[in-house]
């Protein structure tokens, strides 16, 4: 069993209204010096088998086909 973490983030230049709202809320809580906040998603997956190269290729296909919308999002895969 291989454990993996996929992180999906918005591409640069894509407006993130939720990140903006969080940024504002942090400011109103008194946290000073917070720059830009960008919200993303984290997926923790378990992949059967022990072939890490295959797992990585499969995870890449999963990101391209479903986990990320590559029009607006980037993804990063890390095997744990």
């Amino acid at each position: 069993m291989i454990k993996a973490r996929v992180t999906v983030t918005l591409k640069n230049g894509v407006l993130d209204p939720q990140g903006k709202a969080i940024e504002g809320a942090l400011g109103s809580l008194g946290f000073e010096g917070v720059g830009q906040v960008r919200q993303g998603k984290v997926f923790d997956l378990e992949v059967e088998g022990s072939d890490r190269t295959k797992a990585e290729a499969d995870l890449k296909a999963m990101c391209e086909k479903l986990l990320a919308n590559t029009v607006i999002e980037n993804y990063a895969i890390s095997l744990l």
């Binding site: 230049g13 407006l15 209204p17 939720q18 086909k65 479903l66 919308n69 029009v71 607006i72």
Partner: protein, 223 residues
């Protein structure tokens, strides 16, 4: 012309769409379930609005990977007209049938109200019964209607007249780039739009500005 309406778990505007198509064409549309891989022989396929799969992951993302969407892609490639409204628009984008993406409204609020739309391209199969530049009323109801495309894509769809509807008179409700409310594919047979024309087709709705869209798409003489 014959039509079909797609049903997926979580879509809830299907009955409004079936009513609109029935009233305007005089025939009830066929209803197609998400697992179907063979579609009936129709001239127009409509994906209605709602919250397919609870908007999990991204709006329309999971619906776009259901078997029926492969069949719809094949029909679209064969030239059949496809209309996606609201969640249907989100599904068409996620399925790669239209360019761009729809993000959370810039206000972060669900917006349910009437807006004004400008018909920016009246030379499509869906808008022939309107005049170019015509301003129409249309209801909207969505949380994720903020149209985004990268600069290159945006320029391309503008240059090719693929923007069919724009929010007009300062009524952009969601932060969409260039006030974009509806986009058509290059070939001109797949249209996606956030507003709900099916909810403004008769006096009981308070107006009938949406009627001409279905009259165009179904080749019915607008009454």
């Amino acid at each position: 012309m014959k039509s079909a309406v797609v049903q997926l778990p979580g879509l809830n505007r299907d009955r409004d769409m079936i009513t609109a198509l029935t009233k305007i064409s005089g025939h009830a549309p066929k209803v197609v379930w998400q697992t179907e891989t063979e579609l009936p022989d129709v001239d127009l396929i409509v994906i209605p609005g709602g919250f397919s799969y609870g908007d999990y992951l991204r709006c329309g993302a999971i619906a776009a990977r259901m078997p029926v969407m492969q069949a719809i892609k094949a029909k679209a490639e064969a030239g059949v007209r496809v209309l996606g409204v609201c969640n249907g628009f989100q599904i068409l984008l996620e399925a790669g049938l239209l360019p761009g993406a729809l993000m959370r409204n810039s206000s972060l609020k669900f917006v349910c109200k009437e807006i004004k739309l400008e018909v920016t391209n009246a030379s499509t199969a869906f808008t022939g019964a309107y005049a170019k530049g015509q301003i129409i009323r249309c209801p909207i109801a969505h949380h994720d209607g903020n149209y985004f495309a990268d600069a290159e894509t945006l320029k391309r769809i503008e240059d090719q007249q693929q923007v069919v509807f724009r929010y007009a008179e300062g009524t952009n409700p969601n932060g969409s780039l260039n006030d974009i409310a509806g986009v058509i594919n290059e070939r001109g047979n797949v249209l996606g739009m956030m507003p709900h024309p099916e909810n403004l087709i008769e006096a009981a709705h308070g107006g009938s500005d949406g009627r001409a869209l279905f009259a165009s798409a179904l080749d019915v003489i607008a009454a």
